[in-house]
Amino acid sequence: MVFYKKHSYSENSGEDTPKKSIKDIFTDKPHIEIIDNKTVNIEGSKGVMEYSNKVIRVNLGEYSVVFSGRSLALRCISPTVLVIEGFILNIEFCM
């Protein structure tokens, strides 16, 4: 069980964005990085559930994420990291 500090907001700057701490970055929650609509880097994957040219469904533990598009392919596969390449048209989160 991981406990997180409540986000503190800057009063003087008037910005609404929360301050990021080291814990926020190195959490065990999955990280998804989308570069343009062509590359997706996923850290914290638990496995591939569906794999085809049009749909790739990735298990992220508590939920799964579905990338749909065309010419999709897995570029890199490791136990926790996946790199998906292709033309991504839709991203869907399923519980």
Partner: protein, 389 residues
């Protein structure tokens, strides 16, 4: 690129995965640390590639995920080796190649000299050869410091030098000494006298007292500028006279060409070749020549990227000379005399401004002659020391 080389060296297979749960196959592979690359989905499975070593241990994974594997293509060095495993000659050749390469890298095959400007390269190469550095020197027996010391002692013009052995190449870096500037002696008392007869046209005195003026006629050895100067008290002070004295001079040159003469010509040429391999030479031409032949040896060594390979060809050009005589006609003789005259004028009268030249052709029974009379302007000043008792 590095990845492709690594894959080629380890060997990899392209295979097809057919079955109900190909995704499970991917997950199991990734959990077991089996590297799967280029997975391309198809209608009933997907294509993928894998290292040969990994492919041997995925049978259990394939069974667990209920898929069938079918190898489509094999790539890499292990498959090439397997293909030629019965060809012992290739293996033997590769081993011999490796041994030869390892042996040859212990010797120096190229000697290069850098930074030489005034020192004679051929002298330098001779001394380097005498010092033990030549093509084929065994690197471990070669003492570069001893050769450096020897060359520094023998060549005074070398200011700094270093011998660097880089692989099979010996690079000799030389820095020559800076030449001392010529210091004019203005302290020793001297006069300036005429070096030849002439009519003075201009005189520039920097030090001393001029004894002639423009328009004066002088003879060889006559005093032009004196180093003995009278001071304000009436005494004599001796200085080093300096100046330039230009005069119109006349000089005559005599050129001659014999009417009949003998010359040497090549009557027969024989080429003899020898193959150079490592330290040995093998004759390719089996022709004997007599001692009357004069030989010229030319060596061509093979090189790759400016590195000499110990394999080449030595050609010996053997020529037999015979003496023939010829008779010169008047027109050819005039041409030859003119050429001689032009060459002499070009090299011997560089400091003279030529005004006029008169040519006079004559001939005797034995030779053709040309007398050239030059009238020119030149500096006739010549220093002559004053001996003061």
């Amino acid at each position: 690129m590095l990845l492709y080389i690594l894959r080629f060296l380890r060997g990899y297979v392209d295979f097809r995965i057919i079955g109900r749960f190909p995704e499970r196959f991917i997950n199991l592979c990734s959990r077991r640390g089996i590297r799967l690359f280029h997975p391309t989905p198809t209608d009933d499975g997907f294509f993928a590639s894998m290292f040969l070593s990994d492919y041997k241990r995925i049978r259990k994974v394939a069974y667990k995920s209920s898929v069938r594997l079918k190898v489509v293509a094999r790539h890499g060095l292990p498959f090439i080796i397997h293909k030629y495993r019965f060809r012992k000659g290739i293996v033997a050749g590769a081993i011999i190649f490796l041994i030869i390469t390892l042996v040859l890298r212990s010797f120096i095959w190229t000697v290069e000299i850098n930074g030489v400007e005034t020192i004679s390269r051929s002298d330098l190469y001779d001394k380097i050869n005498d010092g033990g550095l030549y093509i084929g020197t065994y690197k471990k027996n070669f003492d570069s410091y001893a050769l450096e010391r020897k060359l520094m002692e023998e060549f005074d013009d070398i200011g700094w030098m270093s011998i660097n052995i880089l692989g099979t190449k010996a690079e000799i870096e030389i820095k020559e000494k800076e030449q001392k500037p010529e210091i004019t002696d203005s302290i020793t008392p001297c006069n300036i006298v005429a070096s030849r007869d002439g009519l003075i046209t201009e005189i520039y005195t920097r030090s001393g007292k001029a004894h002639i003026t423009s328009g004066s006629a002088v003879i060889e050895g006559q005093l032009l500028i004196s180093g003995a100067v009278e001071d304000s008290l009436g005494g004599i002070r001796y200085v080093g006279a300096e100046g330039e004295v230009f005069a119109q001079t006349t000089r005559t040159m005599h050129f001659s060409a014999p009417k009949s003469s003998e010359y040497k010509t090549t009557s027969e040429v024989i080429n003899r070749h020898r193959l150079i391999f490592l330290w040995s030479e093998f004759p390719l031409t089996l022709k004997n020549i007599s001692s009357e032949y004069t030989s010229l040896i030319k060596t061509d060594m093979m090189s790759m990227n400016n590195t000499v390979i110990p394999f080449g060809l030595r050609t010996e050009l053997c020529s037999l000379f015979s003496v023939e005589s010829y008779t010169l006609d008047s027109e050819s003789a005039h041409k030859r005399l003119e050429t001689d005259e032009v060459l002499w004028r070009l090299f011997s009268m560089q400091k003279c401004n030529e005004i006029t030249t008169e040519y006079k052709y004559t001939d005797t029974k034995e030779e053709y002659m040309l007398d050239a009379i030059y009238t020119c302007i030149e500096d006739i000043a010549e220093k002559e020391n004053i001996i003061v008792n």
